[in-house]
């Protein structure tokens, strides 16, 4: 019996191949006779295409074909799965029609024998553009006077949506005070280390198309691409090899995926496109992009009465898969971890001459948490109370779960006080506040920021999801006892090859290394949904667990049959006859027929116990199975979650600011996260680390910048600042474990916790540091220059402070 592994920080089984450079990403897949594609992309943010001349490009040696929007009209639109009332959906074709809408908009694609020829030919395509006025700022673009992007709509407003419960007007009126704040959530680039890439191969005889693509959702992508290019879904095999990160950017169906498939079918040759980093910045979705107005009402004792958030959400010029749905997630989570009797969100989704926004790690929820946490800090500042105190005042008690919010959710379980207390103790909060007082006396600038967050994970019940929220798993015990897990979730860096193996190993009494987790090949794996929304474990892992239970049912029956007892039990990796403890029963040996020549040797069924391997062999040899039982030992489960899960936690950031330069230095970073039951704490820590790092990026460095003409000026990693290891403080992490009642694993999900909990804590710390200068809010990213200006210009109030 292998040692139990669930709950232990075992090393990722994925890592050796990744670290040694032996893993296969799309670009590592080499097929003979492959053609290479390169895109001509718009250099204008908004322009009419008067003409395109591809003659010179087509004549270049090595060029096989050049396609423009005119040539590719048979390919259907890039899909948007979000359904909202009165949503205006632009016709989003893979290549531009008579207009381009953003810098990076694909205009033509060249296919050539070599990458170089394809790239050279791109420069030979001549496009005559007529520049049009641009609409860039989501708030201004919503104005009736703004240039209109999609003329057929007559407006840039894609939709308006109001959500929330309770009488918000009355709630704000009943408040002793109302504070308001305009806040910006700037656009961010997800920057997966591996950009996108597609390889397509069509076999005309078999009429089969195989698509290798770097995606988070292989099955959904297969379905959608099949629809776009008009082929039977089951003739399209989509393979997701190693994926070098997605962060939501690959939770999508892109024009290039359908185009490569279609081109391969036109030319009957494999064709490959690997996205460059500049393309990645221009034409892979961006995250966030909101301009919002907060109003929060509260009593003088700190009790919250109501929260309203009016927000202009930047859609970009087209919808990608979930673009308009992202702000609705913001609306859902506006209660944070607080009792707020009335909540209202008013979303105005606005088209702009920019790349589409869509899901980026957190997808709408970091915005919500940021809104609520900034609001709570403003309440504390207004009441001159400690921000911790104001938070605690409005927490639901642990016995109030499931807790219903005014956004229509039922939080599954929680102990917000527990995580907060633990974090405060780790940080020694009281002492930090004392230190801050001393620092201020000495002219040093120090700030402490606290964020208490809750997030919505395990997306989700299908009723609340655009395209199914369940997940699938097939678990097989092979004749040799090796376990194969096929998961419909498509992990891409999260480590589920390890955590799912841990679940299977413990349940089936085998070692982790006896389990192989297979994912991301639609010809092998049953239909599934994918990895996003912190659902890998809490939905996909639960599906694995459910399939194992089915498989174990059958295994028990086989065991009982072989052991010649009514019922068998499975204890410590061994089956024995029921009732008399482990391995102590002497099962009567069953009469064995003469084995036919060449038959496999039979397991020793006369022994006291049977392992899963014994049962597997029996099930496959199929000579000694109960009557009417099918051979084989395999089970499939489709798990439909009944609710979301709601992980939570507390993040505390402590910063020192250089008074002469505004540079921000972390003194401490403490986080306590509660993601329910942990299967592998090392994976949990890894997810939290990565999330906090991306949060630091958002809070202090990252911003996709388009200039006033719509040029993307943060076009490379020389200008777009992704945080580097040296910019990250030591992260002091711990956790509490409040199991979720939603699923049998008790797991909640942790993939996005860091990006949700950390950003408000960092901003709060910086704002808190600058409180003596009259600062109450700063928009992200908070760059040193901004801080320096505030210090230089702000009134120094010695008595002010957050506490």
């Amino acid at each position: 019996m292998a040692e139990k592994t669930v709950g232990k920080p075992i090393k990722r089984t994925e890592d050796p191949r990744l670290i040694q450079g032996l893993a296969h990403y799309v670009d590592d897949i080499r097929l003979p006779d492959t053609l290479h594609a390169a895109f001509l992309r718009s250099i204008y943010a908004h322009a009419r295409i008067k003409s395109i001349d591809t003659t010179a490009a087509q004549k270049l040696p090595g060029v096989v074909a050049v396609y423009t929007g005119k040539d590719t009209q048979k390919i259907g639109p890039v899909p948007c799965a979000a359904a909202l009332p009165d949503l205006k959906v632009p016709d989003h074709r893979p290549l531009a029609g008579n207009k381009v809408y953003f810098v990076g908009h694909p205009v033509a694609v060249v296919v050539a024998e070599t990458k170089s020829a394809a790239r050279d030919a791109v420069d030979l395509i001549e496009v005559d553009y007529e520049e049009l006025p641009v609409a860039l700022d989501e708030e201004k673009a919503a104005d009736a006077k703004s240039p209109v992007i999609h003329e057929q709509f007559g407006t840039n407003v894609a939709y308006k949506l109001t959500a929330g419960e309770g009488d918000i007007e009355a709630a704000l009126k009943s408040a002793d005070k109302v504070v308001k704040q305009r806040i910006l959530h700037k656009r961010l680039a997800p920057i997966a280390m591996e950009p996108r890439g597609v390889l397509a191969r069509y076999f005309p005889g078999e009429q089969e198309l195989t698509l290798w693509t770097s995606t988070q959702i292989p099955h959904l992508c297969r379905t959608q691409v099949a629809i776009m290019i008009g082929m039977p879904e089951n003739k399209l095999r989509l393979i997701t090899p190693e994926v070098g990160g997605g962060f939501g950017s690959k939770l999508n169906v892109y024009a290039e995926e359908a185009l490569m498939g279609w081109i391969s079918m036109q030319l009957n040759r494999p064709v490959k496109w690997i996205e460059g980093r500049r393309e990645n910045m221009q034409a892979t979705i961006h995250g966030r992009g909101q301009t919002g107005y907060i109003e929060i009402g509260f009593k003088n004792d700190g009790t919250l009465t109501g929260l309203r958030y009016n927000v202009f959400a930047d859609m970009g010029s087209y919808f990608q898969l979930l673009t308009p749905a992202i702000p609705t997630l913001t609306g859902l989570m506006l209660s944070g971890c607080y009792k707020i009797p009335a909540i209202q969100i008013n979303v105005t989704g606005v088209f702009t001459n920019k790349m589409s926004t869509d899901a980026y790690r957190g997808a709408g929820r970091p915005e919500a948490t940021y809104v609520v946490e900034r609001a709570l800090d403003l309440v504390a500042l207004e009441l001159k109370r400690d921000p911790v105190e104001v938070r605690r005042k409005n927490f639901p008690q642990p016995n109030e779960f499931p807790f219903k919010t005014a956004t229509g959710l039922f939080y599954d379980s929680g102990n917000y006080q527990g995580a907060l207390d633990k974090a405060l103790k780790m940080a020694d909060y009281t002492k930090l506040r004392e230190e801050q007082k001393t620092a201020r006396k000495e002219g040093r600038i120090m700030g402490i920021g606290v964020s208490t967050y809750v997030e919505i994970c395990a997306l989700g019940p299908s009723s609340a999801m655009p395209a199914g929220g369940w997940e699938s798993a097939t678990v097989r015990v092979e004749p040799t006892g090796k376990v194969t897990v096929l998961t419909g979730a498509s992990p891409h860096g999260q480590g589920e090859e390890t955590s799912f193996a841990q679940i299977a190993a413990d349940e089936l009494g085998v070692g982790v290394n006896d389990v192989t987790v297979i994912h991301g090949d639609t010809a092998i794996v049953q239909y599934g949904i994918g990895t996003f929304g912190s659902r890998g474990l809490a939905v996909g892992g639960v599906a694995v667990y459910m399939a194992i239970q089915k498989l174990k049912d059958k295994a028990h029956k086989i065991a009982a049959h072989v052991l010649q007892c009514e019922k068998a039990t499975f204890v410590d990796g061994k089956f024995c006859a029921d009732g008399k403890g482990k391995g102590e029963v002497s099962a009567p040996s069953m009469p064995v027929a003469e084995a036919p020549a060449g038959a496999l040797p039979k397991p020793n069924e006369s022994g006291k116990t049977l392992t899963m391997m014994d049962i597997a062999l029996e099930a496959h040899v199929a000579k000694n199975l109960p009557a009417d039982m099918e051979p084989g030992l395999s089970a499939t489960a489709f798990y439909e979650p009944k609710n979301f899960t709601f992980p939570f936690g507390t993040h505390i950031a402590v910063v020192d600011i250089d008074p002469e330069t505004g540079e921000i230095h972390f003194q401490r970073y403490v986080a306590v996260d509660d993601c329910g039951k942990q299967i592998n704490p090392m994976l949990v820590a890894g997810q939290v680390h990565g999330g906090i790092v991306q949060s630091i990026g958002q809070a202090m460095f990252e911003e996709v910048v388009y200039d006033e003409t719509g040029q993307l000026v943060t076009g490379t990693l020389m200008d777009y600042a992704v945080p580097k290891a040296v910019m990250i403080p030591h992260l002091e992490l711990d956790s509490t474990e409040t199991p979720s009642p939603v699923n049998p694993l008790g797991a909640k999900g942790v993939g996005e916790a860091g990006t949700i909990g950390a950003t408000p804590a960092i901003v709060a710390a910086i704002v808190d540091a600058l409180a003596p200068y009259g600062v109450r809010h700063i928009d992200m990213p908070i760059k040193p220059e901004v801080v320096w200006q505030l210090i230089k210009n702000g009134p120094k109030k010695t008595s002010a402070g957050a506490a």
Binding site: I43, R278, D707, T709, L712, V713, T714, G715, T716, D719
Partner: protein, 154 residues
């Protein structure tokens, strides 16, 4: 992107203004301008090789002179397109006498697009300033009282 500044040139205002609307001299002053061909009244088609150091690109451009009020004001508009992207610049020049010299105040607006906009962010402002400086340096060489009008430039 804005560029602005003041430049003093030791030459009479009339002479400078005449140079500023003379395509032959303009060609020498616009950095990297290799050819200028008249296409209409105060309208020219030009070939430019513009950039800094070894980072250069070939552009085809239109140059137009507008709002000509001799000898005190005019507007120079250059729109270039090439493989590295596009550049659109317009500059208003105001000339006034400053003793024996002439003071030129200029305010310009430069927009770049395409590759140079997306990869050149950290150098673009400095490049614009530098090209403006080169323009005036050449203009000075062409017009300064003590230098021959047929300066070879650089």
């Amino acid at each position: 992107m804005k560029i602005e500044g003041t430049q003093k040139i030791a030459a009479p205002r009339d002479r400078i203004f005449a140079a500023l609307i003379d395509p032959a001299i303009l060609q020498k002053c616009i950095p990297g301008c290799e050819q200028m061909e008249k296409t209409g009244d105060n309208q020219y088609k030009a070939k430019l090789t513009a950039g800094v150091g070894p980072v250069k690109g070939a552009f085809t451009a239109t140059v137009s002179l507008q709002e000509i009020i001799a000898p005190e004001h005019y507007k120079l508009v250059v729109e270039g397109k090439g493989q590295p992207g596009f550049v659109k610049g317009s500059g208003e020049l105001n000339l006034k006498d400053a003793g024996s010299e002439t003071e030129i105040q200029y305010t310009g607006d430069v927009n770049v697009g395409g590759l140079i906009a997306s990869v050149g962010q950290r150098m673009i402002q400095a490049t614009a300033n530098m090209l403006a400086a080169r323009f005036f340096k050449s203009l000075e060489a062409e017009t300064a009282t003590n230098s021959p009008a047929s300066s070879t430039g650089t």
